[in-house]
Symmetry: C2
Subunit: 336 residues, 2 copies
Amino acid sequence: MTRRVTLMDVSKQAGVGVATVSRALAAEPHRDVSPATRERIRRIADDLGYRPSLAARALRTGEYRALSVIVPDFEWGWWEPVVRSAYNAAEEHGYHLLVHPVGERRDGAAGTISALSNVPTDGVIVLGFSASREVQNAAAALRLPVVSVDDTAANPILPTVSVDNRAGGRMATDHLLSQGRQRLAYVGNTWAGNFVDQRIQGFRDAHDSAGIEVNERLILRCENPWDDPPLTFKELDELLADGVRIDGMFCEYDRMAGPALRSLRRAGLTVPGDVAVVGYDDEESAKLTDPPLTTIRQPYEELGALAVSLAIQAQTRPLAAERRLIVPTLRKRQSA
Amino acid sequence: MTRRVTLMDVSKQAGVGVATVSRALAAEPHRDVSPATRERIRRIADDLGYRPSLAARALRTGEYRALSVIVPDFEWGWWEPVVRSAYNAAEEHGYHLLVHPVGERRDGAAGTISALSNVPTDGVIVLGFSASREVQNAAAALRLPVVSVDDTAANPILPTVSVDNRAGGRMATDHLLSQGRQRLAYVGNTWAGNFVDQRIQGFRDAHDSAGIEVNERLILRCENPWDDPPLTFKELDELLADGVRIDGMFCEYDRMAGPALRSLRRAGLTVPGDVAVVGYDDEESAKLTDPPLTTIRQPYEELGALAVSLAIQAQTRPLAAERRLIVPTLRKRQSA
DNA sequence: TTGTATGCGTTATCAT
DNA sequence: ATGATAACGCATACAA
């Protein structure tokens, strides 16, 4: 293990002072260094295999030029495309992105943020958690600015980037109605929560605009333990067994579509022939259903990019605790 | 923005030297500090909201106590459970784990490693790439030790942790044969590669042991563009259309099971009644097929934990470029 | 345009 | 058991 190559080594080799080397090696050409020496020194540094010490640099400048993103630890990585776009956006700004899954820790996102005291980072982006007071406090304790993404709280206490779930719900429903479907079921989970309410609201909005009455009986809230999806939803099975006719279905999120499609198939209904089905999320499972699922695609890319942009802004000035809404899009496949 | 609290601040407040404070605040009780002062100083540091400067510490000690894991950037996160277990393992060793997806960069894993020159890290774990010479070089340039996981190269040039694919293939096939199934199809991709060969080899091993001849015509290599899985595999459709009878099927990996199950269903075959199906990986899609897929579960947890352990060992002494094999397990569901 | 010198906050060495 | 101090490698203010 040889000693590391430092600025001093390069300066000796080049016969100049360390300051000159530092300036010559700066990312953007320093105004106080001639192009000639800049080139010469960079060449020498390269030959010597010089690598700047991040520790020394950070100690000196007080910033790491890195952002941390806290992701939920489900095996299912809906958040992956968000991280990817955040990654690219960070890179464009000359920042690095560190990804921190929330483990089994009982203290969740807040605990994960607290653990960042041992991580060289300048800011935090929290994905998919209700931005509780705890998250805010944990970040404040570390003097790190926070931005949340897909924060489901009604009134954000942090700067946050969200999806317009109401618009999404409406979009999905409009798509069904525009095909002449009239008897639409809403297949949701028993969860309560803002984002659910908004998707349902969008479902109602679309009906209102079309002048069609919502049949309340067709709004299902099904038991669906997250960790072990059931083969079918008994609520839907019962509805179909009762002879209630439907010709369209909006699944609250893609993963409900698998069981729901099974129910339809077992009831002898074809998709999209008898029943058109639209999901929500456009995650991987949407490609795997039979038939592949028409769904509302979350604006993953925009979410990540905007979050990074905000987090970087927060480096210099405090950000308002506002919610920024992004409208999703329809991804058409074969189910509707 | 107030100035940060340093050791000096704490030392002044406590009326002791900075060295004493440093010792008192060390993770494990320092032998050269009385429990009394240790307690007193820790309390004061806490009151003042002292946070150690990672930069200063790293500059002084020369280590960040962090490992980087390079993950493939497929939306599908098969690697997620590996990362999770690596995360926990790292934490137990007092290390942090940084996750770096390989973006759209054309230079792949090696390029991502090169980008680590701006990341405070002590070692690299590479997931799911053939550990090419480029990876090795990129890491060497940064003076970072590398461990690879699931490296499919025939002869590893790095310390690597792998799954025993031959044992897995055999395990899957044994499960089918033990149910009295005799005419087994192997449904694989057109990819070549070590891991594929080994799964097929396991398939053959099991047949040999059972004294059953492998019908070469039943070994299918299907076109399957990764980005857009087909509804069915035409190779399988043709086989079934030709009236070839099968009663069991081993899918090279879980994601092939969706299309394969569709083919069977369309041919009027039931699963597992007429045909028992076993997959490989136990990733999320295995729970979503109809019926849920019996499959070979990759030892995700062991892979991550062992990789971290090796990477930490590599901090102190160079590791041999050996392959460590882990045997997978059978995860029984409804398809076989 | 370039060089010298200082300080960032910590840990380790050496005295006491 | 504790204190003073050097050193880690860099960026910058200031001097030349």
